[in-house]
């Protein structure tokens, strides 16, 4: 991130949102909403005095509620750019109107109470969508007690705690009493592979991150015991199987194939009830901490992004690639590419690979002065076109533009590089002015006619 922010040819806009996208490959016109930070980026030196002095605390989103942050804050220490943001929902200046501590303390006068969102317009040749993922909400599994029982946490909570800059300073503790856990139960497939209550697919990353957390646990608290409930171990990539074996054999994690049916609190302990499906035995374990490996789900925001960019989404909300095998990075919209989990669950190496591929696709696109496109695109006969624009109403690609003819008539024009070649326009056009090349009306009529005339000739003979 730091490296990217320092590249003169990269403009990094954080705390910003896509507002509107028009145009097509090579010519996207994009409106971006830069949200108001209430701090003037051009002045702020990132000294952090304001954060230090701010008297207002609130729960930290970054730490998933395990810790607190100030009303003026940076989401995490390495955040780029190194400029804090004022949370006007909690900031005393807005809630009571009395506090102006940060404004007074700021040595460069960067606090700007009147700053407003700014909409900027930029032109781009290509777009890469990398909007990431969200984690499954484990409270939907009421029997696990997530959100209700303090010591039932998710893998991400675990990550925050073992992080040296995290809310516990890198110490793994039970959130209920801040004591070190002795026995930690990990439950995999929370939300994943459950068509009824979660999602039917395998999130693909939970086996590996659970194994990693098992190892982290043993390294932080060597005497702790790790018990993992799993459905199947899915570790197909390079070195993955060996990693799991290490967690089991070197670090002594106990892997139990089976599901947990219920977790409840008793005498400051957690009681985990489950089944070992290999032995067929019911189990009841005492635990100090339970870590849920929640699955990957598509971000809520995807709906809006999908509409803005005319991207298709699958049943689960992930963006659909152009072709599952042959074009896994491209989308239906020419010039728009996908990277990472917005396209489907994947781990870091796969995300990096897809990101690199998307970048490569963009480079390849930009390396040519002219675009090659499939000849199966629609074309408009200006004379026949009556300018009703029903083609534009139905085009899934937004490939139809208005054009004025030399005889001053508004007619449809197909942006060939954007046209996907489906022919919906041809089936819609009342006059037959717009014709999908290679599947024109007359070509199809010719096929029908030849077939039928042949039949009639045969039966006449």
């Amino acid at each position: 991130m730091l490296e990217a922010s320092q590249d003169p040819r990269i403009k990094l806009l954080t705390y910003a949102e896509l507002e509107e996208v028009k145009g097509y490959v090579g010519n996207f016109e994009v409106k971006i909403r830069k949200k108001a930070r209430l701090i003037d980026e051009t002045r702020c030196t990132g000294c952090g005095l304001c954060i230090e002095r701010c008297p207002t605390f609130t729960s930290s989103e970054w730490d998933l509620g395990l810790g607190q942050r100030k009303a003026v804050y940076k989401p995490f220490p390495q955040a780029i750019p190194n400029v804090p943001v004022i949370d006007s929902e909690v900031c005393g200046h807005f809630t009571t109107g009395l506090c102006s501590v940060c404004e007074k303390i700021c040595p460069v006068g960067a606090v700007d109470w009147n700053q407003r969102d700014e909409v900027i317009e930029e032109r781009f040749g290509a777009l890469v969508v990398a909007t990431g993922f969200e984690l499954f909400d484990p409270s939907l599994y009421g029997e696990y007690g997530a959100g209700r029982i303090k010591d039932v946490i998710t893998g991400l909570h675990f990550e925050r705690m073992v992080n040296p800059s995290g809310p516990t300073g890198g110490h793994l503790v039970r959130p209920s009493d801040f004591t070190e856990p002795r026995r930690v139960v990990f439950i995999q497939c929370v939300g994943s592979r459950d068509a009824e209550r979660g999602v039917p697919y395998c999130s693909g990353i939970c086996c590996m991150y659970t194994a990693k957390q098992v190892i982290l646990l043993k390294e932080h608290i060597p005497e702790a015991e790790a018990v993992v409930f799993y459905m199947d171990i899915r570790a197909p990539a390079k070195g993955y199987e060996e990693f799991i074996r290490r967690a089991q054999e070197e670090y002594g994690a106990i892997y139990i194939r089976g599901r947990v049916g219920r977790i409840y609190e008793e005498d400051g302990k957690l009681i985990v009830q489950g089944t070992d499906t290999l032995s067929g035995q019911a189990l009841e374990l005492e635990a100090d901490l339970v870590v849920l490996a929640t699955g990957v789900v598509a971000p809520q925001e995807g709906d809006r992004i999908g509409q803005l960019l005319a991207l298709a989404r699958d049943d689960y909300g992930f963006f659909t690639e152009l072709h599952p095998k042959l074009a896994p990075v491209e989308t239906m919209s020419s010039g728009i590419y996908l990277a990472g989990c917005c396209q489907g669950p994947k781990d870091i190496p796969a995300s990096v690979a897809q990101g690199s591929a998307a970048a490569g696709k963009v480079m390849a696109l930009f390396s040519k002065d002219e675009l090659e496109s499939d000849p199966q695109v629609a074309q408009v006969k200006d004379l026949r076109c009556i300018g009703c624009f029903k083609c534009r109403d139905v085009c899934p690609y937004g490939a139809i533009e208005e054009k004025e003819t030399p005889w001053k008539k508004m007619v449809a024009r197909v942006v060939e590089t954007v046209c996907g070649g489906c022919g919906l326009c041809t089936a819609t056009c009342p006059t037959g002015a717009i014709q999908l090349q290679n599947f024109t009306d007359n070509q199809l009529l010719g096929e029908v006619e030849s077939l039928c005339l042949g039949w009639r000739r045969e039966s006449a003979a």
Binding site: T320, G421, L436, D441, C452, R456
Partner: protein, 142 residues
């Protein structure tokens, strides 16, 4: 196959390139037996099938017409078959009013992996057309 010993019927099938054409291919590769009455015309998408193409086939002497595309939601072109579904449904309800018996025109969805399903669709549709007999509506027309 019962009732299909008589001479072949004239049946036109408009199949989308990405799903149903592939499905018919899959059926062929798997050597699933299919009636030979149905002649396939490949189109990019069921959304490309102007309902008038179906009408034209009847006009030129077809006994039955079938349109098959990707399952709704699986359209290669995202939404083509959604439009097709509306248009073809209307056509299906309208043709009998103009004098084409119900059953002579059908539309359905077959994915490229559904070879067996294609076999079932093709077989049952052809059987239905055999049951209806040749379309004699234009015989006095030449």
């Amino acid at each position: 196959m019962s009732g299909m010993e008589e001479r072949e019927r004239r049946i036109v099938g408009f199949l989308c390139n990405w799903c149903s054409y592939g499905g018919a291919d899959t059926a062929g590769v798997a050597r699933l037996q299919q009636p030979t009455d149905l002649r396939i015309l490949r189109v990019p998408c069921s959304g490309r099938v102007n309902p008038l193409l179906v009408v034209k086939a009847f006009l030129e002497g077809a006994d039955g017409v079938l349109v098959s595309g990707c399952h709704p939601g699986d359209c290669h072109y995202v939404e083509g078959n959604y439009y097709a579904r509306r248009r073809l449904e209307l056509l299906k309800r309208f043709l009998p009013f103009m004098g084409i018996e119900p059953g002579r025109f059908e539309y359905t969805w077959v994915s490229s992996s559904e070879g067996q399903r294609w076999q079932k669709v093709a077989t049952e549709f052809v059987e239905e057309i055999h049951r209806l007999g040749p379309f004699a509506g234009w015989e006095d027309e030449g």
